[in-house]
């Protein structure tokens, strides 16, 4: 065997490992962003900032796509109420962990430590998951979809209503803040770093970055660190969910996805298993909501509209339902190409040329009709990238469902069996059941 084929063989075997694929994808995404940043002419501060934002979104979409994969990819539960569980997570966390109000006019919290609030948020999301699951899991998939999305809207109306804006628990004023939302006076990153004594690392990074970036380097370093922290959470989710998926419990989940009646016939109490899986997924979504919004300073109910749910669905479908690796990669691709990408391109164009966009569509089209001038229309497009990107997401979703419903990695659904059900490659002896040996070896089987 020559050295070249040996090297290629090793590269292929390396590529077959999922973490390598994920890291390669991330490397490509970051390379493109850095190149674009250089093209825009970002200072190093702007460059790191944009990378930090990108990392943040890769993290949150990866986390939520993984949680959704437990519902849809493993168990086949069509949950389109994700945003409701996220909202419950962060709102519960806010109420539990916000400091006690000093004056009666302020909306305070219960003043518990941050980690207590996070656990409370997860528990609340799981309990509400149970509340939805009890009636809804018996229903057909499309009915479950409608119930979950209606549920997420009920959550939003509740958060919006004046009824729960503020109320008294003992002598403390707490509440959900109604339409104006809640202030979140948290600094989760700092608390985490202080507890884990990693603040030494943070100080070192700030000291290192200050000569390069200039003053106030800690803001940039902190946002980067939070992004990295989210990626660590993605890794933890990945490991936990992969372990769940490979456990006997996970095999029952996959069996339910394939054929619930057959699973029942084998003596599995599918309702209990589905309810458990649903609650675990909801708790993970609740934590996802907490991690997304806890450092944002404030939350309002209308952030939690159903379209956020569909973003996560698109991320999962890009990666391929049923595969945890696919979920992470889908989250990364969605964050980089569909969510942040168009905005980044908008920045790129706006830094290169003076965009003098017309205020409405007729101002954009009239010059084309009058004098075949295309510029106002293009400016209008650039100015409205945030709307057009949703159109684009819709088109991508349609295209994926037409051409690649199994996701970018191809068919990766794990089997509901502890042994591989694929045929062994040709020439490896007889089939396991002692039948006639497999002679064809047809790749298309």
């Amino acid at each position: 065997m020559s050295a070249a084929t040996d090297w290629r063989d090793r590269a292929r075997r390396l590529w077959d490992r999922d973490p390598v694929k994920v890291l390669a994808l991330l490397a490509v995404i970051y390379a493109v962003y850095i190149a674009l940043g250089l093209a825009i002419g970002f200072e190093i501060r702007g460059q790191i900032n944009s990378i930090a934002t990108l990392t943040f979104y890769i993290g949150v979409f990866g986390i939520l796509a993984l949680a959704l994969n437990l519902h849809w990819g493993y168990t086949g539960l069509f949950n389109i109420g994700i945003v409701g569980f996220m909202a419950i997570g962060i709102y519960t966390m806010a109420v539990v962990s916000k400091p006690v109000a000093e004056t009666a006019s302020q909306i305070g919290g219960l003043g518990a430590p941050l980690w207590v609030g996070m656990i409370a948020g997860m528990v609340a999301a799981a309990v509400l998951g149970l509340l939805v699951a009890l009636p809804a899991l018996r229903l057909r998939a499309d009915y479950l979809a409608i119930v979950t999305i209606a549920f997420s809207e009920i959550v939003r109306f509740t958060l919006l209503s004046r009824t729960f804006q503020e109320f008294q628990v003992g002598d403390r004023t707490i509440g959900l803040g109604g339409g104006s939302g809640l202030i979140l006076p948290f600094n989760p990153l700092q608390s985490f770093l202080d507890v884990t004594r990693l603040n030494v690392l943070q100080d070192a990074l700030v000291a290192l970055a200050t000569p390069v970036i200039g003053g106030n380097a800690d803001a940039v370093v902190n946002s980067m660190l939070y992004g990295v922290l989210l990626l660590v959470v993605v890794a933890i989710y990945y490991v936990v969910l992969t372990r769940i998926g490979r456990s006997p419990f996970g095999r029952v989940l996959k069996a339910i996805r394939e054929d619930e009646d057959a699973t029942k016939a084998l003596g599995k109490d599918t309702n209990v298993v589905k309810t458990k899986a649903f609650m675990v997924g909801c708790a993970l979504m609740g934590l996802g909501g907490v991690l997304w919004y806890m450092q944002s300073g404030a939350i309002t109910p209308n952030t939690f509209r159903p379209r956020l749910t569909f973003f996560i669905w698109i991320a999962l479908i890009i990666g391929g339902a049923g595969s945890n690796t696919g979920s992470v990669m889908g989250g990364a691709v969605f964050a980089a190409a569909l969510f942040q990408g168009p905005r980044y391109l908008q920045n790129l164009v706006e830094s290169a040329i003076e965009v003098d966009a017309p205020s409405n569509f007729s101002g954009a089209v009239a010059p084309i009709v009058d004098s075949l001038t295309l510029n106002p229309f293009l400016f209008y497009v650039i100015d409205n990238v945030r709307q057009l990107q949703l159109v684009f997401m819709g088109l991508v979703l349609i295209w994926l469902m037409h051409n690649r419903p199994e996701g970018m990695l191809g068919h990766r659904k794990e089997e509901a069996a502890s042994v591989s059900l694929t045929r062994p490659p040709a020439g490896q002896g007889t089939a396991a059941d002692g039948g006639r040996p497999d002679t064809g070896g047809d790749a298309n089987e």
Partner: protein, 370 residues
């Protein structure tokens, strides 16, 4: 009939359908409480009449849009999440034409502003006099275009989006329809702008005096009711008396069997979209004309209520969709009598969820497409 006998009957009813029994009991209690509130004057008749009227009007819109959703749901076997944005599309297409006609084809205002339904406050429907009495031709043209344009849109979407994956599962089609919804909604936002605008002029209304005030019955209330009722009656006749109706029922029941019997299933699908799209577009336009404001989110906000109505009535039943629409509309409007008004929509959803648990096949369950 003795007491024990009626008690026995009640017990049997409870045992055969406990959730339905509790639900019926809840409705009965609410009705009794309503009578009590009206008699004691806690709730004056004028307010009651107003919310009831609003509920019926909303219910007519939901019912009309629900027929279209119900037809495609039963024949193509998927929940179409783009349906709400078909409503919005119909409303925008129709209103653009109404503006154009009311604005005398550009002689009263910039033609671009008219066609974009006064985006960014460039022209106002009130100033143009859009309304049944003040500009009947504009409204008539608007209704027709709303229907026709939505039919065109649904056929176009079906041809390029749904037909290529007709044989896939209902869930795959559902996910695809979410993509369609995104494309339509945000294209509308891109073209027409995001402002929620007033589109109609003041119309004459009839005031009926009742204790505690008066109930206003506006021209657009009447117009909405008449158009919706006429279309519902029309679709009833069409589905009952023509071969198309029979073919649609056959397809909803068993598509393969329908095909081997010689029913041209693709053509039936096309007619389904034509009927559903037309009704939906008109429903969207009439809804906007009735409430007087237009925004790109209107249809999406209505969609879950339409789903609630269709599920309530039983998928595939047009009478179910109409009844469900009225129940959901009235629930939505009357709930604030008992609970904070922020929860009107939530109450309608809760009714749907309860029905799904108690009677997943809907009140008119079993019948399909007629």
């Amino acid at each position: 009939m003795g007491v024990s006998e009626s008690y026995e009957r009640g017990r049997n009813l409870f045992q055969s359908n406990p959730v339905g029994f509790v639900l019926g009991l809840a409705v009965l209690i609410l009705m009794l409480d309503l009578v009590r509130q009206l008699v004691t004057g806690e709730l004056d008749v004028a307010r009651f009449g107003l919310v009831l009227k609003a509920g019926i009007m909303r219910g007519m819109v939901i019912g009309l849009a629900g027929i279209g959703l119900s037809l495609t749901y039963s024949i193509l076997n998927f929940a179409n999440f783009a349906h709400g944005d078909y409503l919005t599309s119909g409303a925008f297409a129709g209103m653009a034409v109404s503006y154009l006609v009311a604005g005398k084809f550009g002689s009263e205002a910039n033609i671009g502003a008219l066609l974009l339904v006064g985006t960014g406050g460039s022209v106002f429907g009130g100033a143009l006099g859009v309304g049944v009495v003040t500009a009947p031709a504009a409204v008539l043209a608007g209704v027709v275009v709303a229907g026709v344009a939505t039919i065109g849109l649904t056929l176009l979407v079906d041809r390029y989006v749904f037909r290529p994956i007709r044989d896939r599962s209902g869930i795959a089609l559902l996910i695809t329809s979410i993509g369609v919804a995104f494309v339509l909604r945000y294209l509308i936002l891109f073209v027409f702008g995001g402002s929620k605008r007033g589109v109609t002029a003041e119309q004459p209304s009839l005031s009926v005096g009742v204790p505690g005030g008066a109930i206003e019955i506006g021209t657009h209330d009447v117009a909405l009711f008449v158009v919706a009722a006429a279309l519902m009656a029309g679709i009833h006749l069409l589905l009952q008396n023509t071969k198309l109706g029979k073919a649609m029922r056959a397809m909803a029941d068993n598509e393969d069997l329908a095909r081997v019997t010689g029913i041209p299933t693709e053509r039936v699908v096309k007619y389904t979209w034509i009927l559903g799209g037309g009704l939906t577009g008109v429903a969207g336009y009439m809804f906007v004309l009735w409430k007087g404001t237009l925004g790109f989110f209107d249809g999406w906000l209505l969609l879950l209520l339409v789903f609630a109505a269709v599920i309530l009535g039983g998928i595939g039943s047009i009478y179910g969709a109409i009844t469900g629409g009225l129940v959901i509309g009235i629930t939505f409007s009357m709930a604030p009598i008992w609970i904070p008004s922020a929860f009107g929509r939530a109450a309608a959803f809760v009714v749907m969820i309860v029905i799904l648990i108690a009677k997943p096949e809907g009140i008119f369950g079993g019948t399909s497409t007629a």
